[in-house]
């Protein structure tokens, strides 16, 4: 008899174990929903699966009565644009600041303390300031996402840059490289895959800031819709939206992971060819 700590599930059993919690959760939901709907057929708190499907169909495949647009896809497009722009800006700024402060002690001395302090400011606390400075349009939403995750990415890249062995820098200098050559040819290629990792880790925060910004002032977006229909407790719309956001977040994460594999095969394989 193997000790429990050494027992490995078989492939099929592992899959089953992985799915089981989801099945249990869905079953619990359906039971709860049935129980509430039996008492009050108009109950909105836990809509049945068919009501959720109706809600989704209405939002995604039927043009809105008021504007003639397909709200679900319009919301998705606006939210993804905001998120994409915010993260792109944050990634570029984060890379620049992280690389410069990680590689050049002169810059690190002046920027590191500032970066540390800035990264500690809760972005949601300065939301009113952002809206006053950047207005209520798209800019302030993108800026909130960018401000929220840039410090995180910058600090991460700074650490990763500092972790690159000094031997490499010494060697490059022995071969006659100057500062900018070292940064672009030695440090940058090694940092790029780390940047993808940092972006993947900051996606969760990115979504949080996106939805917070859309809750304050917006005319469309996934977060906007959820906060709007909350006013009349349309859980049949909220639940599919939440599932969709989770799914989008998952897909973005997976595609970034695959992209890292494709672009930097040496990084993923850990040096093996």
């Amino acid at each position: 008899m193997k000790k429990f700590i050494n027992q490995q599930p078989s492939r099929a059993f592992k899959l089953l174990l992985g799915i089981a919690p989801f099945v249990v959760l869905i079953l619990l939901y359906v039971m709860g929903s049935d129980a509430r709907l039996e008492v009050n057929p108009n109950d909105k708190l836990l809509p049945s699966m068919s009501q959720i499907a109706d809600g989704l169909e209405r939002m995604a495949f039927e043009p809105s009565k008021r504007s003639g647009e397909y709200l679900f896809w319009q919301d998705t497009a606006s939210s993804l644009t905001r998120l994409g722009l915010g993260i792109l800006i944050a990634a570029m700024l984060g890379l620049l600041i992280g690389l410069v402060t990680g590689a050049l002690p002169m810059f690190a001395a002046s920027l590191s303390p500032l970066l540390t302090v800035v990264s500690l400011i809760p972005p949601l606390a300065i939301l009113p300031i952002l809206f006053i400075v950047f207005g209520l349009g798209e800019v302030s939403k993108v800026v909130l996402i960018a401000i929220g995750i840039t410090p995180f990415i910058a600090r991460d890249i700074q650490r990763r840059t500092q972790e690159i062995p000094t031997e490499q820098l010494v060697k490059a200098q022995s071969l006659g490289a100057n500062t900018s050559q070292i940064m672009i040819r030695v440090l940058l290629p090694q940092i790029m895959p780390k940047l993808f990792d940092a972006v993947r880790l900051s996606l969760g925060a990115g979504w949080l800031f996106l939805i917070a910004a859309e809750a304050v002032a917006a005319t469309d977006g996934l977060g906007y819709r959820i906060f709007l229909v909350r006013r009349y407790m349309a859980m049949d719309v909220i639940l599919p939206y939440v599932a969709w956001i989770t799914m989008l977040a998952f897909l973005i994460d997976v595609s970034l992971r695959e992209l890292t594999k494709k672009l930097f095969p040496w990084y993923v394989q850990g040096g093996k060819s």
Binding site: P128, L136, A217, A218, R231, Y232
Partner: protein, 346 residues
């Protein structure tokens, strides 16, 4: 061991006994609902609950919509809300609800403010920041009707009430619809004109204490205790003597302002200090017309649910008549408890 079992038995019995007689009501901060804060803290609610041998717990919920959602989900037996939200959240959610106390109507507490323009018709083509689907939205729709415009002539931007004052300061924002105390702060800013307010549609935005109809039917004692407590508080509050000022100061502090600020809000609120005044509106034909407007607005904005074929899908029962489907009455105005209060029978 035996003693322990007996203890368990006694404890469980007492909790059952209490569960049968114990009720929870919720309220949120608003000028017309502050009396509940006063009544709960000064023991007026407890006094009336004791009189009828029941237990009433009064809970403050910070977020207004959340309080209604909690009530609709069944966490509370009664809750404060406006006539429109009572129709679109609990009633549309199948929770048969009764307006037990008709407390006041907004008489200028909700308004539309324009920056740099002086009349409502100028709103055409502008972006209007407001809490979508709220009474502000309803007020705006009623205002637009009065100048021959419709919502198609402008665009609304859903804006959180918590940030309304802050965003009004930005250049992008030229028009807002909101309520007090935000409204008075925004109107006080330079270059701003209040072009429409709820005093122009008096008696349409009504603040209520809404109670679950089944609970009320099964426990008339709860209705009596709540209405009794309410009018005792009203009597104290309406007095200009020391007790009245003290009560209002208490309510002002609890809502985060001072006596002068609270008095200013009261000035744009038509409080029904006596049951007779509340009954006048409740029994009137006008209420019937108001609820028809509200139901129509709600239907046009999809608030009655997608199964609703027309504005009358949810029946609203009022003393002057029933609006909508008599087979699907989910929202009722019940004057009987206020009448008991008027006749001094509580």
């Amino acid at each position: 061991m035996k003693r322990f079992a007996a203890l368990i038995l006694v404890l469980s019995l007492s909790s059952v006994a209490q569960a049968a007689e114990s009720f929870k009501i919720c309220w949120s901060i608003y000028v017309g609902w502050m009396p509940w804060a006063y009544g709960a803290e000064q023991g007026v609610v407890k006094k009336w609950a004791d009189k009828y041998g029941i237990d009433i717990e009064v809970v403050q919920i910070n977020d207004y919509i959340e309080s209604i959602n909690q009530y609709t989900a069944g966490a509370f037996d009664a809750c404060t809300m406006t006539n429109m939200d009572a129709l679109t959240i609990p009633a549309a959610g199948g929770v048969d609800s009764t307006a037990l106390v008709v407390g006041d109507f907004s008489n200028g507490n909700d308004g539309v403010v324009l920056k740099g323009k002086s009349k409502l018709a100028d709103i055409k083509g502008q972006q209007v920041n407001l809490v979508e689907l709220s009474v502000s939205h309803y007020l705006l729709a009623r205002g637009l009707e009065s100048v021959g415009l419709s919502e198609k002539d402008l665009s609304v931007v859903n804006t959180s009430d918590a940030d309304m004052v802050a965003v009004y300061g930005t250049d992008d924002v030229t028009a807002v619809a909101t309520w007090n105390p935000l409204l008075s702060e925004i109107t006080a800013m330079p270059n701003s004109t209040k072009v429409f307010d709820s005093s122009m549609i008096p008696g349409e935005i009504i603040d209520l204490l809404v109670i679950n109809t089944e609970t009320l039917k099964a426990n008339p004692k709860l209705g009596k205790a709540l209405v009794g407590a309410w009018y005792e508080i009203m009597a104290v509050m309406s007095g200009s003597d020391k007790a009245g000022v003290e009560a209002k100061t208490h309510m002002a502090t609890a809502s985060g302002t001072d006596l002068a600020g609270y008095e200013a809000q009261l000035a744009s609120t038509e409080m029904f200090y006596t049951p007779a005044a509340a009954l006048e509106l409740t029994n009137s034909e006008k209420l019937l017309a108001t609820m028809e407007h509200v139901a129509k607005f709600s239907f046009d904005h999809g608030l009655l649910g997608d199964g609703a074929p027309d504005a009358g899908f949810i029946g609203i029962e009022m003393p002057a008549g029933t609006f909508g489907d008599k087979g699907n009455i989910k929202f009722r105005f019940d004057p009987s408890y206020m009448t008991m209060a008027a006749e001094g029978k509580l």
